[in-house]
Structure formats: structure tokens, C-alpha cells
């Protein structure tokens, strides 16, 4: 039982990472009709940014404040990936609005190129980032099982990010514009919402949060140029299950995929876990073909 709880908790931290990745995906898909396959590579870039920041920090900062590198790394990961996202949006993505399938293939091409770029710079072998010492402890819960501090931190980080996104989307003027453009682009535009700016901003922010997710995965193990790809499928499954356009959908999806995977693996075997999750997703979609929290529309061909 302890082992199972432990698995479950580990699953929750995977959920958190998926959630961070899926939020960006769901919003860009809902707003612009873009399926961004390169989102996984934003995670990877975030992770490598953390790696670089750590090494620079080690070289220039006094040793006793080494642990603080992590906050710098998080900030840097957000800024770097948001910048990369912004550049890509301006150069390529914006030509693909509303062409979901085309955007999927183009961003797949981008992801291959980004992987190779990182491979050329950092080499094909995995690198590792050491977590701050204060997270390297385990916390005993009710004497039953030990929660790793790192994973707990990831959980907290996801919750805070989620809250930030929610506040941004529902409490600020910019967030309201984004939601308006999501529901009816033409109408929003004619009411004076600068949709191009919305798109750009949203894409950059979504990428930024993928960068933070990348920062988080450095806690879970070594990172390599293809690490993004191992998350992208699950992140998209999260979006598909949860539905597009609402944060609650992404949370639910992330919970199902992130916790479901390890649970199935626990009860069956590692190789069957993915198959089981796939079956579960198919079953859910039998009843909700557009995800659990989908927005219903009256259009004939949507």
C-alpha cells in the first residue's frame, strides 16, 4: 500500500508537469487553432536553460548561495522559452492560424530542428542538474510513506503557475481579450481587440510555462535533446481528454493522464501502462468526443 501511495504521489508530480505543458497547448489551440508539436522542445529548452544557469551560477557565485540558483533558473527558463516562442510565432506560426493540421506538421519540423540544434550545442548525451539541497530531503507523511521534497516542490510550482494563469485569464483586461478572441475571433477584432497581439502574447506565455515545466523535470532525472518528445504525447492526450478552452479541463486531463499512467503501471506492468491509458482515453472520448470540458457550438462544420 505504501508503495502504491508513493506511486500515486509520483504520478501527481508528473500530472503537475503535464498540466504546465498542457495549459499552454490548450490555450494556443483554443485561441489560434494551432497544434504545437514543438511545445515539447520548449520544455527541453527550459531544462537546458536551467542546466546552463546552474553552471554559470556555480562558476561566478559564492558557494554558500548555490541553492538560490534555482530561482534564477526558473526565471531564465521562462524568459528564454517565451522569447523563443515569440520569435517562432512571428516567423512561422502566425502564418498557420486556423490550419490545425498544417500547423501540427510544421511545428513537428520545428521540433526536429530544435532538437538537432541543442544536440549540436550540448552533445547527444544526457546532462544532469543537481537540485538545491533544501529540496533533497524526504518528508514523512503520517509515518506511512516519504514524499520527496523535489516532487512536492513541483506540485507547489504547478499550483502557483496555474493560479497565475487563472488570474491572468480571468482578472486582467488582456486575459479577457484573449478569452473573447478564443470564443469569437472576428467579433473580438471588430470590437477593437488587437487579436494579433493577443496571439503573440498568449503563445509566448504558453511557451514560457513550458519552460518552467522544463525546469521542473530537471529534478526528475537527467535531460537530453529528445526529452521533450517523451512529454509531448502525454501533454496532448491531456488536452484531448480535458477539452479545449478551459483551465479546469487541463487540470482534469492532467490528473487522469499523470496519475492514471503510474496507477496502471503499478497494477499491470510498465509496458502496459501506456496502452491502458490509451484505452481509457478512447473510452472517455466515446462519451465526450471533444473532451470532458468542451464548449458546445451550433455551427454545422466546426
Amino acid at each position: 500500500m505504501d508503495l502504491f501511495l508513493m506511486q500515486l504521489f509520483n504520478g501527481l508530480s508528473v500530472s503537475s508537469i503535464l498540466l504546465l505543458a498542457a495549459l499552454g497547448l490548450a490555450i494556443t489551440f483554443g485561441l489560434m487553432g494551432i497544434i504545437n508539436m514543438a511545445h515539447g522542445e520548449f520544455i527541453m529548452i527550459g531544462a537546458y536553460t536551467a542546466y546552463v544557469v546552474q553552471n554559470i551560477w556555480k562558476a561566478v557565485m559564492p558557494e554558500n548561495i548555490f541553492d538560490a540558483y534555482f530561482f534564477a533558473a526558473m526565471l531564465a527558463a521562462f524568459i528564454v522559452t517565451a522569447a523563443v516562442g515569440l520569435i517562432l510565432e512571428r516567423l512561422i506560426i502566425r502564418h498557420l492560424y486556423g490550419r490545425a493540421i498544417d500547423s501540427l506538421l510544421v511545428t513537428w519540423g520545428i521540433s526536429l530542428a530544435l532538437q538537432q540544434t541543442v544536440r549540436s550545442i550540448f552533445g547527444p548525451t544526457n546532462v544532469s542538474v543537481s537540485a538545491p539541497a533544501f529540496l533533497d530531503k524526504n518528508i514523512q507523511v503520517m509515518g506511512m510513506f516519504a514524499m520527496s521534497g523535489k516532487r512536492l516542490f513541483i506540485l507547489v510550482m504547478a499550483a502557483v503557475s496555474c493560479l497565475l494563469i487563472a488570474v491572468f485569464m480571468y482578472k486582467t483586461k488582456q486575459g479577457r481579450n484573449i478569452r473573447a478572441a478564443m470564443q469569437n475571433r472576428e467579433m473580438a477584432a471588430s470590437l477593437g481587440v488587437n487579436t494579433a497581439k493577443c496571439d503573440m502574447l498568449t503563445f509566448a506565455i504558453g511557451s514560457g510555462f513550458a519552460g518552467i515545466a522544463g525546469c521542473a523535470i530537471t529534478f526528475l532525472g537527467p535531460i537530453g535533446p529528445t526529452i521533450g518528445q517523451s512529454y509531448i504525447v502525454d501533454a496532448f492526450m491531456t488536452v484531448v481528454v480535458g477539452g479545449v478552452g478551459r483551465i479546469i479541463g487541463s487540470i482534469t486531463g492532467a490528473a487522469i493522464i499523470g496519475v492514471g499512467g503510474p496507477t496502471f503501471e503499478f497494477f499491470t506492468s510498465a509496458s502496459l501502462g501506456k496502452v491502458m491509458i490509451f484505452i481509457v482515453v478512447i473510452i472517455i472520448l466515446q462519451f465526450r468526443p471533444k473532451g470532458i470540458f468542451s464548449i458546445r457550438s451550433r455551427a454545422l462544420d466546426d
Binding site: 490509451f278 482515453v281 468526443p289 462544420d301
Partner: protein
């Protein structure tokens, strides 16, 4: 319009058909002037061309993007590989099973002793699998990108499963070291040549079959599904049934391709069926020109030939190259190689637009075509001279 009506139905000598004949002629005569190494590569590419034909049917014509065709390719390939493995083991346990301390041949391996069963299985297993997946998705109107993502997850799930099941499927090493196929040595030049021509025959047969389907009313229904699925439904057709049909067809082609691939290449592993190769299959079709059957064959041959050349010379660049290919083809060249012949007209259109704006109406149409490739009938489908029979 009148030209189109002049041709006799079923015997059209269009540019595309001539191109197809030239390609087949080239393939058939390749062993005369190419080294056996290159011919073997060509055999492999023809398998890929078979897969591309199927993907073109479902993506180019029906508008459903499947990113999981590696699954069907893999199912066909694994079926064949299991048979070859049993042939190579001479009635003993296949080597990798012994390494994983499996003591008895698993029950599902046993039927693959029979070559007849294997030949049926390479078609039927992918088709049945596709029918199940297709019914579960298309009947419930899971479509568009939702289907793309599911199909991608499918290939990911299958690859993970295969990797995890070391004892049954050889894990990430896959199945390899075959000796004979139906009693003939896989390494003998004669067997290789027979396999090569066998693949060519299948490719030509598949091309003929797909051409026939595309030119029948089924082809028109598929295009209609791509353009306005609900209208098809309210015209009295069941889009889901047509989609399952074409999905199964493409799965069968991929399965056959996989089965022909294994003896020629000598190995099948989860790497060949995972997300990356499955997605690459789509770009073959895009490069050649989707919704033109000959385009998909051309694309598969050209991309894979280029891949071999580039990765032989500069192994590091290939990934940049294929990445750039994805971006460039979709963004700037949506008609693919087949649309090269339209290029002069487009260039002239752009030049004319720049030189005089008086002629706006005509050039606007040309530019609209350039921007919205899907709507361009010339690029998106082979014209059928049907109205001529009235």
C-alpha cells in the same frame, strides 16, 4: 473543360499517369544499371511508397491525418518477422526468448509457423486493428486534430509496449537475424531480386487499385467528406463507414509494406514504428503532392533517397534537413513536387500583379490559389472527366 471530355473514361493518358509509368519503368529496369546495394535500397523505398499510397488515400483524399501509420506498418512487419524468426530457429525457441529465460514458445507465436497463416495475418491483423480503432473514433465523430493526436498516441503506446515486452517481441532490439523466407535464403541474390520485383508488382497493383477507387464514386464521397463532412451525412451517406473503409484500406497497404520490408531489410524494431517514423511517413506524401496518388509514390522515393544520400554524407544535418522540409513544404509548397508544373503560371501571375494592377481579378484568383491550397482543385485532386458522358 473540353479537353477533359475528349478522353475516354478509364483510359486517360494524363501527365500523372505518364509520370507513374515512367516511375514504374525506372524501378523495373533499376537492377540493370544499379548496384545491388542501391537496388536493395530501392526495394525498401518501394515498401515506403506503398505506405505513402495508403496515407494519401486517407489524408490527401479524405482529409484525415493519421500520425500512427507506423503501427500498421509495424503489425505487418512483426507478423512477417515472427514467421521468419521461427524459420530461422529450426523448431527451437527463438534466440532472444532464450535470453529472456522464456521456456516455452508463447501460444500466439505458434500459428506463425504456417506461412499461409502469416500471409493472411500481415493483411488481416492490421485491417482488424484498424477497423476497431476506426470504429471507435470515426463512429463517435472524433475527428480533426483529436484523431491526429490519438493516432500518434497509438503508435507511442504500441512502440512502448513492444519495447517493454522483451520476452515476446525482442524489446528495443526488435526481431532480426533471419535466415530463410519460405525456404529460400534471404541473403541470396536471387531471393533479393524476386523480393524486389514482388514489391514492385504489389506497388503497381496497389496504385491501380487506389486509382480505381479514387475514380469511382467512393473517391468522390471521400473528397466530399474532406470538404464538408456534415453535408455528406445529410446527403444520405455515412461518413464514418467510408472513413473506416479507407482507414482499413490504408492499414492493409501499410501491413503489406511492412511484411515486404522485413525480409529485404532484415530487421524490424520499435524504432521503426514509433512517433518519429510515423510522422515522417506523412511528409513523404506532402513532398510528393497530396491527393495525387503518383505524387505520394514519388514523394516516398525522393525523400528516402535524399535521406540516404544526406545521412551518408553528413549524418548531422539530416534532422535539420527533414525539419526544414516539413516547414518548407507545408508553408510554401503545399502542392508538392507534382505541382511544379503549375509553378510558371503562379510566377507569371505574381509578376503580372506587380506590373499592372488593372488586371486584378485574374491574378487575385491565382494568388488565392497560392494562399489556400486546399481549395485549389487542380492541386487537390485528379480531375475526373465525368460530365462528358452526359
Amino acid at each position: 473543360m473540353d479537353l477533359k471530355n475528349l478522353t475516354v473514361r478509364g483510359h486517360r493518358l494524363t501527365g500523372k499517369n505518364i509520370l507513374a509509368m515512367l516511375i514504374f519503368l525506372f524501378l523495373a529496369t533499376a537492377p540493370i544499371y544499379m548496384s545491388s546495394f542501391r537496388v536493395n535500397m530501392l526495394g525498401k523505398y518501394m515498401c515506403f511508397a506503398l505506405v505513402a499510397l495508403g496515407i494519401d488515400m486517407i489524408w490527401g483524399y479524405t482529409g484525415i491525418l493519421s500520425l500512427g501509420h507506423g503501427v500498421y506498418f509495424g503489425l505487418g512487419a512483426y507478423c512477417m518477422a515472427m514467421h521468419l524468426k521461427l524459420e530461422a530457429s529450426n523448431g527451437e525457441l527463438p534466440d532472444f526468448m532464450a535470453w529472456s529465460a522464456v521456456e516455452k514458445l508463447p501460444a500466439f507465436w505458434a500459428p506463425f509457423h504456417s506461412s499461409v497463416f502469416t500471409i493472411c495475418a500481415v493483411v488481416l491483423i492490421p485491417v482488424i486493428f484498424a477497423a476497431i480503432i476506426g470504429s471507435l473514433t470515426f463512429l463517435n465523430r472524433i475527428r480533426g486534430v483529436f484523431f491526429c493526436i490519438l493516432s500518434q498516441a497509438l503508435s507511442y503506446a504500441l512502440a512502448t509496449f513492444m519495447i517493454g515486452r522483451q520476452e515476446y517481441f525482442g524489446g528495443s532490439n526488435g526481431l532480426t537475424s533471419f535466415t530463410t523466407i519460405f525456404g529460400f535464403s534471404v541473403n541470396s541474390p536471387t531471393t533479393k531480386m524476386v523480393l524486389f520485383y514482388f514489391t514492385l508488382v504489389f506497388l503497381i497493383g496497389a496504385f491501380a487499385l487506389c486509382t480505381k477507387i479514387v475514380n469511382s464514386r467512393v473517391g468522390r464521397v471521400l473528397i466530399a467528406v474532406r470538404d464538408a463532412e456534415n453535408r455528406v451525412r445529410f446527403t444520405g451517406y455515412s461518413p464514418a463507414v467510408y472513413k473506416v473503409f479507407v482507414y482499413c484500406l490504408s492499414a492493409a497497404l501499410a501491413g503489406i509494406a511492412g511484411a515486404l520490408y522485413v525480409p529485404q531489410v532484415g530487421i524490424i524494431s520499435p524504432t521503426d514504428i514509433n512517433i518519429a517514423p510515423s510522422t515522417e511517413m506523412v511528409i513523404w506524401v506532402a513532398v510528393g503532392g497530396k491527393a495525387t496518388l503518383v505524387g505520394s509514390i514519388l514523394g516516398a522515393l525522393v525523400v528516402n533517397f535524399t535521406k540516404s544520400i544526406v545521412s551518408e554524407q553528413f549524418p548531422d544535418i539530416w534532422q535539420f534537413f527533414i525539419g526544414a522540409l516539413f516547414i518548407a513544404v507545408i508553408l510554401f509548397f503545399p502542392g508538392g513536387l507534382i505541382s511544379i508544373k503549375d509553378l510558371p503560371a503562379k510566377v507569371i501571375g505574381i509578376i503580372r500583379k506587380k506590373s499592372s494592377k488593372a488586371d486584378a481579378a485574374d491574378t487575385a484568383a491565382v494568388n488565392a490559389d497560392a494562399r489556400e491550397p486546399k481549395k485549389d482543385p487542380k492541386v487537390s485532386r485528379t480531375p475526373v472527366g465525368k460530365g462528358g458522358s452526359v
